[in-house]
Symmetry: C2
Subunit: 115 residues, 2 copies
Amino acid sequence: MSHKSRNRMAAGRRAHAPVFAALGDETRLSLVAKLCGGRPCSISRLTEGSRLTRQAITKHLCVLERAGLVRRVRRGRESLFALDPEPFEEIKKYLEFVSEQWDQALARLKSFVEG
Amino acid sequence: MSHKSRNRMAAGRRAHAPVFAALGDETRLSLVAKLCGGRPCSISRLTEGSRLTRQAITKHLCVLERAGLVRRVRRGRESLFALDPEPFEEIKKYLEFVSEQWDQALARLKSFVEG
DNA sequence: TTAATATGCAACCAGGAGGTTGCCTAAGAT
DNA sequence: ATCTTAGGCAACCTCCTGGTTGCATATTAA
């Protein structure tokens, strides 16, 4: 692997780790699921049906926001949150890259064994 | 959305959250990157070039192992670790599902506005 | 104006995560 | 048999995380 490629991968790690971390929590995954509906939701609305406090949900939303997975826009007295699909696409590409590397490595090992 | 579908999604969250969490750390992503090479690596080998202790790396490997991202096999006095691509595929599918839901929701909103 | 709703802010707490050190055991190498 | 290397185990520390409660503030509704 080239130096450039290695640096790119290291940069990718720094960028992707927070996104993975933000998704690494059941509560936050359920928030993401609710926001998949397409229409922005207020904090109160997102808290409905949860056993957690509004503040707990707020914190989780902040985590998602810091990771860029969600955007907040203030409307009147409420904070509306909506999904941002871009980071999802990013880490999907990253996972595809990992799979690809893995497959190529296996192919090399196979040809080495056979050759 | 149907009840079945909702239950399936909740089960998916329970299954996927730990995987995302395991990937939500730069050190562990770099370990994954090294293991993408295809050949199993010992703990000492994976520690080489890191500023962390062998024990720290061991802990990270245990996290990856608990999440199913990595498999350990003992050979002589060393523990060899290899990637398991299956969980990667799983969360990739999950991300694709999220994107899909999002796109469909957007399409519905669009037709609602236009109609 | 007054009441109700939606949110923000801060303090606080328990537990877990990431990391270190020290010591012990097992397996190769000489 | 002895030395060296790879790894496991446990204690310990610090900081972050997930969660709570209490109170303050800004809108909206009556």
